[in-house]
């Protein structure tokens, strides 16, 4: 169990496709400044910076942690970058938890940033994302993320009976949640009919089943409570667990089941000393609508009856376990390195009762955050506890 790692504060920029000429360095500075303000700390209070950014090909900046330490007024701190595909941001948070828990650092700032939308053409980003899978067997055929997720989703549908209507319900609901979130990329008022009428990207997935490429940054600060200014009600980390699955879908016993995510979740529940039934709110990695249902199943929520629970409204904003009140990747957006950091930020603020978007009404004691890279190949799960 993690004994004393507290959420000191955090902030994010809007996630969207920047058209204002601002740079990823600007977003990083703003997120860092606002996180320090939220935590009541000065730059000089930070002794470790952990940057999350998926690819040098997006930023066109190698060694970005040293650069961003310099850019953000943190010169002198220990600085490193953590990368794990789509899970980069969340894995960076885990590195910060380890730093604080071990005493290697007192106050750690995790900064996730990615110019996923504005630097390159969408086709070039897609070509780079292809290399997130086994480049020698999958990536160099030009296979895109959506096609691989689609194959996994079809296996999930064949086994569970999930339908495209179930997927559309997720696509609609996460966008509805995003409408309360001023930082969200896609604040869409859409219906299941709109999803069904959007163009096919890779069957069964249509445009509105897919998360967008976004620009943006998010930052959070972690520390022991004794090393932070006095304030009431801090969320605390209870578990930070990760696990991998085979890189190739074809080597999985069931290519529609996220076994690596299940393993990470089970490790996290054990570390926190809780069960899935204790979770009251969740931010779940919904790179695609169907992937949210696959994730909920693997996480063991709703007594491992995720599909039936989804149809019963269990994961709705007014349900037993509201999922992705931020809008998720589908609604809030996905600047890769920033994604997991923003998920943790949303969960911590929900537990502290000061979330800037749609606040959970069920006064959750525990929040679960789930992020992955590849097709649930690198999986990160955290459990946070309310003050």
């Amino acid at each position: 169990m993690i004994s004393d790692v507290s959420f000191a504060g955090g902030a994010m920029t809007p996630f969207n496709r920047r058209k204002d000429g601002s740079s990823f360095r600007d977003w990083a500075r703003r997120a860092t400044r606002d996180a320090l303000t939220d935590a009541g700390l000065q730059a000089s209070d930070i002794d470790s910076l952990i940057v999350a950014s998926e690819s040098d090909f997006f930023t066109l900046q190698l060694n970005p942690a040293a650069l961003l330490a310099d850019e953000c007024g943190l010169t002198g701190v220990a600085a490193k970058r953590v990368e794990g595909g789509g899970a980069s941001g969340h894995l960076a948070v885990h590195a910060a938890v380890a730093d604080v828990a071990s005493g290697m650092a007192r106050r750690v700032l995790v900064l996730g940033v990615e110019p996923s939308a504005s630097h390159l053409r969408g086709a070039d980003v897609g070509a780079l994302y292809s290399l997130s899978f086994d480049a020698w067997t999958d990536g160099m055929t030009g296979v895109d993320s959506t096609s691989l997720y689609a194959l996994s989703a079809q296996a999930f549908m064949a086994r569970t009976g999930a339908t495209v209507d179930d997927f559309a319900a997720v696509a609609v609901r996460n966008r509805a949640h995003a409408r309360a979130n001023a930082n969200a990329h896609l604040q869409l008022d859409i219906t299941a009919q709109d999803v069904a009428a959007s163009p096919v990207v890779a069957s069964p997935y249509r445009r509105l089943d897919c998360s967008p490429l976004s620009d943006g940054a998010a930052a959070i600060i972690l520390a022991r409570t004794a090393d932070l200014p006095a304030r009431s009600g801090r969320a605390r980390f209870r578990a930070a667990a990760s696990a991998t699955d085979t890189v190739r879908l074809g080597e999985r016993h069931d290519p529609g089941f996220f076994a690596g995510k299940q393993r990470a979740a089970q490790l996290a529940y054990a570390m926190a000393g809780v069960t899935a039934a204790d979770i009251g709110v969740a931010e779940v990695y919904d790179s695609y609508s169907g992937a949210q249902l696959q994730a909920l199943q693997a996480l063991g929520l709703a007594n491992s009856r995720a599909l039936a629970a989804e149809r019963d409204g269990y994961f709705a904003a007014d349900g037993m376990v509201p999922v992705n009140l931020s809008g998720g990747l589908l609604g809030q957006g996905a600047p890769v390195g920033a994604t997991g950091v923003a998920q943790i930020l949303a969960a911590a603020l929900q537990l502290e009762g000061r979330y800037f978007g749609r606040q959970a009404q069920n006064q959750p004691r525990f929040a679960l955050v789930d992020t992955h890279g590849g097709i649930a190949t690198s999986n990160a799960v955290s459990i946070l506890e309310a003050p």
Binding site: L60, D134, A135, T137, L151, P199, S203, P255
Partner: protein, 129 residues
């Protein structure tokens, strides 16, 4: 500011060289584990099932059955099971207009890596490309 980055990679394939050489000739060469017998295609340098490293090369027929298939506007991919393999494989489809459920390994275009499948009619005969 604008910047163009053009990169040409030459990537040695090491212990998997026989697999890639066979692939360039349109032949399916799997790895068979000397300990647990697991047959992997694409081939592996270390068994994914048990971790053993004493692998042997095992030629497959190159015929495959489609498990799941996804179609986009300009490309189609499938998860397929090659005859004789224990694992399944992600392949690009060379002739997606064909809607049958079986196919044969194709020679990759150029020096590209990855697996490509030409769909055949269900008697195993190839359509004209």
């Amino acid at each position: 500011m604008k910047h163009h980055l053009g990169l040409d990679y030459t990537i040695p394939v090491g212990d998997l060289a026989p697999y890639f050489e066979a692939l360039q000739a349109g032949n399916a060469l799997a790895s068979a584990c000397g300990k647990c017998g697991h047959v992997a295609f694409p081939a592996r340098a270390q068994c994914g099932a048990c971790g053993a490293t004493d692998l042997r090369w095992k030629p497959l027929t190159g015929r495959a059955q489609i498990l799941f298939r996804t179609d986009a506007a300009s490309s189609s991919y499938a998860l397929v099971k090659f005859d004789g393999a224990d694992s399944s494989s992600t392949v690009g489809l060379c002739n997606p207009e064909q809607k049958t459920s079986s196919g044969r390994l194709a020679v990759p275009i150029g020096d590209a890596a990855g697996l490509w499948l030409t769909l055949t009619d269900n008697k195993g005969e190839e359509d004209e490309r």
